[in-house]
């Protein structure tokens, strides 16, 4: 049973942007989803946890390891897939994974071979192991990235936007993999795709502007909103008026017309109908507090 504890973690960039603003979370084994719009500070948090960035204040511990002060110790138990995973030119999938396995301390050749073979098989790239990765499609590359993150026996796996570029079946396979792994270790999955979190995570946090604006189980969040979300199809030119009168959570186009969700403690009438809230409503309601059209 591993436990990741983050307390009072803050980081301000030289240009004044607060990337992390007093973050406090505790994460246990299992899949943990980190939701947030672009620029919310997700990647900053992930990099900090992956020992790739310093924090100004605060601390982060994985079990007994002080991440900020013992980066070498953490790296020994870390699997990391960054948002943009690139590869060396002219290096094959097998070579790269072998290299990564060596870096992660698997010194026995036979073990390394077995590990690389197993992972390549798992990400369905065994047939292409002798090909240069540079020529792979985005999805295939991403699968190599996933494989390398799983090498060794990581206790903490951090994956940043892992499903970008994957087609639905690949995505599915990937989630199954993660779910399997996640039973025994801490997996942090950062994404802006709400569905990913809903499908996979038992716990989640929503970040915005460097702060954690929500943490808890997705289901709890949805239940909290229950009965408070209403929707209506409106005319495009009336949008501004609705924005003034209601707290719009989201608007999207349905059949060429805007469909708006609004948050309201009671039924606003005016043609609005109540809907069962979903995680997306939770997400938007948490990050869209200033009531502007998004």
């Amino acid at each position: 049973m591993s436990k990741l504890t983050i307390s009072q973690l803050s980081k301000t960039y030289p240009n004044g942007v607060k990337a992390l603003d007093n973050i406090n979370i505790e994460i246990d084994n299992g899949m943990f989803g980190l939701l947030g719009p672009n620029g919310a500070g997700k990647s900053s948090l992930m990099r900090t946890l992956a020992t790739l960035q310093e924090a100004d204040t605060g601390s982060a511990h994985l079990d007994g390891i002080d991440i900020l002060n013992q980066p070498d110790e953490l790296r020994k138990v870390l699997g990391y897939l960054p948002q943009e995973f690139g590869v060396y030119p002219r290096v094959t999938a097998e070579q790269l994974l072998d290299h990564m396995a060596i870096l992660k301390g698997i010194t026995k050749k036979s073990e390394r071979k077995e590990m690389v073979k197993y992972l390549l098989d798992k990400v369905n790239l065994y047939d292409k192991r002798k090909k240069a990765i540079k020529g792979f499609s985005g999805g295939m590359k991403q699968r190599v990235g996933i494989a390398q993150a799983l090498i060794g026996s990581p206790k903490l796996i951090i994956v940043d936007e892992p499903t970008a570029g994957l087609d639905p079946s690949e995505r599915n396979r990937f989630y199954n993999l993660l779910a399997d792994v996640g039973e025994k270790v801490v997996v942090i999955l950062s994404t802006h795709i709400v569905d990913d979190v809903r499908e996979l995570c038992t716990n989640m946090a929503i970040m915005n502007l460097g702060e954690i604006v929500f943490k808890g189980a997705p289901q709890t969040a949805i239940e909290d909103l229950s009965g408070k979300v209403y929707q209506k199809i409106v005319k495009r030119e009336e949008l501004d008026n609705y924005a003034k009168e209601y707290s719009i959570i989201s608007n999207k186009m349905v059949g060429g017309k805007p469909l708006i969700h609004v948050f309201s403690e009671s039924n606003p009438g005016d043609g609005f109908e109540q809907v069962q809230p979903n995680l997306e409503d939770v997400f938007f309601s948490k990050i869209n507090t200033s009531n502007i059209l998004v």
Binding site: R47, L52, F85, G86, Y88, L103, K104, I106, E111, V181
Partner: protein, 1195 residues
């Protein structure tokens, strides 16, 4: 549309700092070259103005090569900016016109590329304004400013060069869309330039090379080859046919490239090949259970990680296109070096391994540095550029491991490159039939000369990239470090190898003496620098930021963060080692073996002159005889000398004190009975001994001089290559102190003298007719001795032979050392060499003379040719000039620390680097061995039997006569007039080139002031022509008469005027003008064949008609030329063949008008017609003397 893209290109670039930096950079380089003697661009300025049009042309030419690298940036940007910003798809979908876009960008970049080169002009203008104002350089070193030279250089050099190179780079960029390949395009242009340069090393290909040089630099040097100083000061780059042809060729080629790249350019992206992915088999859902592995982190893990990093890095370099292209280029360079290889008189050396090492060093230097600079940045930034840095950085490896793996892979790549060169060299050696392959030598040369340097630079460049936060800044600093550091040290006059990054003393490999005395020092310096660079690597590790980027300040903060204990201990350990090595190296190179920098040496010369000039005219005795006892310890590099010197007072007054100027690197002890040391200068070791009783005229005194040279530790640069393990070569001036004030120490350059307020100095005392006391000194011993007796007992190591002048009287062994006793057969000049090495000896006897060749066992090929050359020369000279007075004639090989042959009485040391290894298997080629040996043996007459007074003109009858004698020996042997033309061609060229590089003033032959191009070049050409005009026997008769009059006679010594009195009676009246024209004045000819036709009269009778133009030119000492009316005898002739190998017809005609026509009848159709067909006269351009003969068309 064109205008829009053109102007936006300019506007965009002018907003970026790059263009200003580059302009400043080139401007500064030129500025320093103008205001400082320490910085030179394309050779030294010489005696022309520092801002002369010629200098501007040279600077511009050289700078366009640098400018090319800059231009690459502009052209590449212009082609790829939209592509790199991924703006292309947006832009190209708008309705813009292809031509406007393409040419707008191209010409915008073209103009931009020429702008940094304007820095050259700025540097010159500002330099010539500031230098006189601040007193850096005297005002009279600057001449008038010619606007035309800027305009010409811009439109004839800069613009066309940038156009051609730009067209290639732009095309490359548009096709491959890859910055690296664009740079490769630029490199291709430079390589082409270098290849055309190696062609030019032989005189035959000069005009071809002038056309083939895309930069026009060699075109200009071809054009200006015969420029006089005046022309250099006023003309510079002019519009000439060859320049126009060159420019048209390259402009045309550039245009073709530009247009074809325009037509192949399309806005549409190339269809990317999309391979349909195979349907992947569905994987059954099985539980995910990672295989069990044992994970451990120990030093073995680090070692395994290092290997993996190394392998990945190494592979990425070896497999990269850039590396492959660099390999191909370096191979091309290598081949072109081989093709042009070792030219000397049109001959090639055998490809001995050290020659191959020299070529490898020429070629690999540039390429390896490019590779180390480029890939050090590449390796550091590769992870980031490929977006894999975060993954790698988050793995549990130590940064030090990853960095040292980068360094190691860089070094490994240099090894691969070197191995590749060795392979090519060995293939070449075997291919030419040369089988003495020395693989071990290739191998050890790598360790000695390269490995350390590459390790050092790899580590330091890694540190640079680790410090900066941008790859290009890293590159900029790396390049600046490599180039600017040396320039700064030069300006600061710092010569210590401890300061100049990676510097070690220069090693010259010699077949005789292997790596020589620099080896030990070089190894210590390598250790010193490697430990220094290890410190850099540790610092780089401390600054190495994993994960997100950091700026320099953050990296410095990072350094304060704790590192593991083992790291700290190793770092401390390395620092201690470095400090230890520093002190040891410092002790040896700065304290134990002090040295003077070039500026210090200059100041010392000034001080010497100012302090001791007052003793210049004190009465000195002469050396009458010397007995030497010399012990050479070659393996310790020590020499201990004892000399019993007999001095005689040949003055008319008594001498009260003796002055000695001792060599301060030798320990000298002088003992004279009844003399007391009254003055000794610490710095210069100038000593004055007061005699107890006056040294009366005609009396003699014995002086015992003990001197020793003891090698201590190692030096910053090897200062003494005369005493070495195998091939010690000393002369008497090095061994013994000189008597009195030594004028040779004085600075001879008048510009430098002016700087130190020293009076102007004449190169040579003026020629005097009927000279009095001035003729009492000869120019070799300066009045300090005449013809003297010398005896030597010399000892050396038991496996060596030691040679001193004269006959070997006795030879014995004692205490494990070998002793030799030599005695000179006939009193000779006080000018000897003492030599010791492990020699093989070839002996032969010729008319009572022992011919002995002392050579290294590896160099035995040409020995029979050498003995033959000795015999040929001796027989011509004894027959034509008189007896040879020594009983032996020795040729002795010495290591290639110098490349010359020199004549001492009866002994002629000859450098291993020429002659011994020249390939003479093809008998039809010029025989340089004959030439050099004949020259040196001629010195046994001209210099050793008769020597001139110390005044103008004397070297005419030592060097000039020897070179003439050598030509005559060969003429006698070959008996082929056209072959002689091949030989004298090099003498003609030597003279004409020499006079255009003259830094003071050209003298007529009879007043030559020890100017090589005059006494060797012009002297031999004129005497050779003279014997053709008045007859060989007549010239030799004059020389013989002169020799007989002065042979082995003490003062007064003869002058060139004395020789002319012997020559004049031999010259018929009709030819008397030649003495004035050729000896007493500077005369040049400009002969041309204007038109040559024949018509058939009947079978076997052809009438040939030649129209010639002939001008005669007189030059003054500054090169000002005036045409004078011609009234001369000149040959006209016809060649049987187009190769000009056989003359069909020749007639000497009187030319008394500039344009004349001659008609005569021959029996076969000639191929070519010529005026002066055998090239006897000094003609500024000889090529136009010859024309193919055409059939005259019927009227």
């Amino acid at each position: 549309m064109f205008k829009h893209f053109f102007t936006t290109e300019l506007k965009y670039t002018f907003k970026q700092p790059m263009i200003y930096i580059f302009t400043l950079l080139l401007g500064l380089l030129v500025f320093f070259a103008v205001v400082s003697d320490n910085v030179t661009i394309g050779g030294s300025v010489g005696n022309v103005f520092r801002n002369a049009p010629h200098i501007i042309a040279v600077y511009t030419g050289v700078m366009t090569i640098f400018g090319l690298i800059i231009a690459t940036a502009f052209f590449n940007n212009a082609a790829l900016r939209d592509h790199q910003n991924q703006f292309n798809e947006i832009l190209f979908s708008t309705p813009i016109k292809k031509s406007g876009y393409f040419f707008g960008r191209f010409f915008g970049a073209l103009i931009l590329a020429t702008i940094p080169l304007l820095g050259v002009f700025l540097g010159i203008l500002i330099g010539s304004a500031l230098a006189p104002a601040f007193g850096w350089i005297e005002a009279d070193r600057f001449g008038e400013f010619y606007l035309s030279s800027f305009v010409n250089n811009y439109f004839l050099m800069i613009l066309p060069n940038m156009f051609f190179a730009g067209a290639i780079i732009f095309a490359f960029a548009n096709i491959w869309k890859n910055t690296v390949i664009s740079f490769v395009g630029a490199l291709a242009v430079i390589v082409a330039y270098i290849i055309s340069g190696t062609l030019m090393s032989d005189i035959e290909n000069e005009s071809m090379a002038a056309l083939l040089d895309s930069f026009g630099i060699r075109t200009y040097s071809f054009m200006s080859k015969y420029y006089t100083p005046v022309e250099k000061n006023t003309l510079g780059l002019q519009i000439t046919p060859i320049l126009i042809y060159n420019r048209l060729i390259w402009f045309g080629l550039g245009l073709i490239i530009l247009l074809s790249s325009y037509f192949s350019f399309s806005f549409k992206q190339k269809n990317k090949k999309v391979k349909a992915e195979k349907n992947e088999k569905a994987v059954s859902r099985t539980p995910f259970i990672l295989p069990k592995v044992s994970i451990n982190f120990s030093s073995a893990t680090s070692w395994r990680q290092f290997r993996s990093f190394f392998y990945i890095n190494f592979l990425s370099i070896i497999k990269s296109t850039t590396f492959k292209i660099l390999i191909i280029f370096s191979l091309l360079m290598f081949i072109s070096n081989l093709a042009g290889g070792f030219e000397y008189f049109g001959l090639q050396s055998y490809p001995v391994t050290y020659k191959m090492l020299d070529i490898i060093s020429n070629v690999s230097g540039l390429f390896t540095i490019i590779i180390v600079v480029f890939f050090s940045g590449e390796l550091i930034w590769r992870d980031k550029d490929n977006n894999i840095n975060e993954v790698i950085d988050a793995t549990p490896h130590q940064s030090f491991i990853s960095l040292i793996a980068k360094v190691t892979s860089l070094v490994a790549v240099t090894i691969v490159l070197y191995a590749f060169f060795v392979l090519s060299a060995v293939i070449y050696q075997l291919g030419t039939g040369y089988t003495r392959i020395e693989l071990g030598l290739y191998f050890s040369d790598f360790f000695v000369s390269y490995l350390g340097y590459y390790i050092i630079y790899s580590m330091v460049l890694v540190l640079i990239h680790a410090m900066v936060s941008n790859k290009y800044i890293g590159y900029f600093i790396s390049i600046a470090l490599i180039f600017a550091l040396d320039i700064l040290l030069l300006i600061a006059d710092i010569q210590s190898n401890m300061i100049s990054l990676g510097a070690t003393p220069r090693i010259i490999y010699s077949d005789m003496n292997s790596f020589g005395p620099a080896l030990v020092s070089s190894i210590w310096f390598n250790f010193y620098w490697i430990s220094f660079s290890l410190i850099c690597l540790f610092l780089a590790t401390m600054m190495w930021k994993r994960g997100t980027q950091a700026n320099f300040k953050e990296k410095l903060q990072l350094m304060r963060k704790g590192m593991p204990k083992s790291f700290k201990i190793s770092f401390f350990f390395v620092i201690v080692i470095w400090l230890g090595l520093s002190s040891f190296v410092f002790y040896n190179t700065q304290l134990l073996n002090e040295y003077d920098t070039s500026d210090e040496r200059e100041l010392l010369s000034v001080e010497y002159e100012k302090t001791f000039k007052k003793y210049e005219n004190v009465d000195l005795p002469k050396v009458a005889a010397i007995d030497y006892f010399i012990d050479i310890f070659p393996y310790k590099r020590d020499a201990i000398v004892k000399a019993e010197v007999t001095l005689i007072n040949s003055n008319e007054t008594a001498i009260d004190s003796l002055h000695f100027d001792c060599n301060s690197s030798w320990d000298t002890e002088i003992t004279i009975t009844g003399a007391e040391l009254v003055f000794e200068d610490e710095d210069f070791d100038y000593r004055i001994y007061k005699l107890a009783k006056p040294f009366m005229p005609g009396d003699t005194i014995q002086a015992t001089i003990n001197t020793s040279y003891i090698t201590k530790g190692f030096e910053n640069q090897v200062s003494n290559t005369s005493i070495v393990e195998n091939g010690t070569f000393l002369n008497n001036f090095q061994v013994l102190p000189s008597l009195g004030y030594n004028e040779n120490v004085e600075i001879s350059d008048n510009n430098t003298r002016k700087k130190y307020d020293l009076p102007e100095k004449e190169r040579m005392p003026a020629l005097e007719e009927n000279c009095g006391p001035a003729c009492d000194k000869n120019y070799l011993t300066g009045g300090l001795s005449d013809f003297i007796d010398v005896e030597t007992v010399i000892s050396t190591a038991s496996d060596q032979i030691a040679i001193a002048p004269g006959a070997l009287i006795k030879e014995w062994e004692e205490d494990g050392r070998k002793y030799f006793h030599y005695k000179v057969d006939h009193p000779s000049m006080n000018f000897y060499s003492f030599i010791s090495a492990r020699f093989e000896v070839a002996r032969e006897k010729w008319n009572g003379v022992d011919i002995e060749i002392y050579y290294d066992e590896k160099h035995n090929v040409n020995i029979p040719k050498m003995t033959d050359a000795v015999k040929k020369s001796l027989s011509y000279y004894t027959e034509n000039f008189g007896p040879y007075y020594h009983k032996q004639c020795r040729i002795i090989e010495f290591p290639r620390y110098s490349t010359f042959a020199q004549a001492f009485p009866g002994t002629m040391p000859y450098s291993e680097s020429f002659g011994f290894i020249i390939n003479l298997e093809d008998e039809s080629e010029n025989n340089v061995i004959d030439a050099v040996i004949a020259h040196e043996i001629a010195h046994q007459y001209w210099a050793h039997q008769v020597i001139g007074a110390e005044m103008q003109g004397s070297t005419m009858f030592s060097e000039g006569f020897s070179e003439y004698s050598s030509l005559m020996t060969m003429k006698n042997a070959s008996n082929d007039p056209m072959k002689m033309r091949e030989f004298t061609k090099y003498d003609h060229s030597r003279y004409l080139r020499g006079r255009s590089n003259e830094i003071e003033k050209e003298m007529p032959l009879y007043k030559v002031e020890n100017q090589g191009y005059i006494h060797y070049g012009k002297g031999s050409v004129i005497l050779f022509a003279l014997q053709d005009y008045i007859g060989e026997e007549n010239v030799n008769k004059a020389m013989r008469g002169f020799l007989e009059e002065y042979r082995y006679k003490g003062p007064p010594y003869p002058t060139s005027l004395d020789f002319l009195t012997f020559l004049e009676p031999q010259v018929p009246d009709s030819m008397k003008y030649l003495i004035d024209d050729w000896f007493k004045e500077i005369t040049l000819y400009d002969n041309r064949m204007m038109d040559a036709t024949y018509k058939k009269v009947e079978e076997g009778i052809y009438e040939v008609n030649l129209k010639i133009e002939s001008k005669k030119i007189k030059a003054d000492s500054l090169g000002n030329e005036t045409f004078v009316p011609i009234n001369d005898w000149i040959d006209i002739g016809l060649f049987v063949d187009a190769d000009e190998s056989e003359l069909l017809f020749q007639r000497r005609v009187k030319i008394d008008q500039e344009n004349m026509e001659f008609t005569f009848v021959v029996d076969t159709i000639p191929a070519k017609a010529a005026i002066d067909p055998r090239h006897l006269l000094i003609d500024r351009v000889f090529k136009d003397n010859i024309k193919s003969v055409k059939e005259e068309l019927a009227q």
